[in-house]
Amino acid sequence: MFAGDDDILGQAEAWAKSGKGVALATVIETWGSAPRPVGSHLAIDEDGHFLGSVSGGCVEGDVVTEALDCISDGKPRVLEFGVADETAWRAGLSCGGRIRVYVERVG
């Protein structure tokens, strides 16, 4: 099922309310043919569960790893990813875009 902001930010709130450590990742800038628009969210809980996306699946793994660190240390960070050509996931999409992702702890 496609998760809209309702689900993603609502889930982040629900996780936080249940006492879990939660981080929120947001696409803050894109260059070139970035897969997800600025403002896209990915919510992550302390167990590594996540909802939403900041790319088409290319960098979510790295973002989740950073998010878990962020949940531990509480420091917001900005991550930058180049979207490599070989990770193009859809025919006809000319990749090579770059994205910046802001990761913060919810708490």
Binding site: A16, L24, I28, G39, P76, E104, R105, V106, G107
Partner: protein, 233 residues
């Protein structure tokens, strides 16, 4: 992000209130700005522009970078009259991403079979509209020509500051409509907000063409005009 801030952001979305979350990238300081706080905010101009475009993005101010998370309610299109034009408009509105609903108390018109794309309420506007909580992110089109049905919807739309209010009918029909609204206490400024004759002047003749001209006019009102109506004096 402070959990309470996230709760407020989520509450604003549930209640169809526009809000902007301001995040200072260096240090992570955050605040939530709602419509009535935009003018007083140090980033008021940038926030205002972001709310108009509906797009999140980075802004720079005095050497600091901020990210604006913009949250505006999805556009709702309330159509009064389950008529031929509405049938053409329904799939088009869906394609554009508007959340369309049709209201018509005439049960012969208001049937789901005629409108596979959108919900149809066989109710009078007096009954159907109040629970919807129409707002400034709502567009209203009145297509029935029948004052008993159209007028109550127009009155509610004017009070709710809907960003687009259109009414079908000739200039003569509209003239009579304005007389009735004047009698109800609406002023010239209110009534100037009703688009009539409805639709962009593209020479539309058939129902799908008229639906196209109306949809174009709604998009124009949405994108070209600030959705924020009142400015404190």
């Amino acid at each position: 992000m402070d959990r309470l801030l996230l709760e407020r952001l989520n509450a604003a979305r549930r209640e169809r209130r526009a809000a902007v979350l301001v995040t200072q990238i260096e240090g992570g300081a955050q605040r939530l700005v709602e419509l009535d706080q935009v003018n007083a905010d140090p980033l008021g101009e940038e926030i205002d522009a972001a709310l108009r475009s509906g797009k999140s993005g980075m802004v720079e101010r005095e050497g600091a970078s901020y990210f604006l998370t913009v949250q505006v309610p999805p556009v709702r299109l309330v159509v009064i009259g389950a008529v031929h034009i509405s049938q053409a408009l329904a799939p088009m509105a869906k394609m554009v991403g508007f959340d369309m609903v049709i209201v018509d108390p005439r049960t012969a018109f208001a049937t789901p079979e005629r409108f596979p794309d959108v919900p149809v309420l066989a109710e009078w506007p007096e009954v159907a509209l109040p629970p919807m909580k129409i707002d400034r992110y709502t567009a209203i089109c009145c297509f029935t020509h029948d004052p008993k049905i159209d007028d109550p919807a127009l009155e509610q739309a004017l009070r709710a500051q809907c960003f687009y209010i259109g009414a079908l009918g000739s200039r003569k029909t509209h003239g009579k409509r304005l007389e009735r609204l004047t009698a109800k206490g609406f002023g010239a400024e209110d009534m100037a907000r009703i688009r009539a004759p409805i639709g962009l002047d593209i020479g539309a003749v058939t129902p799908p063409e008229i639906a196209t001209s109306v949809l174009g006019e709604i998009i124009l009102a949405l994108r070209k005009k600030p959705l924020r109506v009142e400015k404190p004096a």
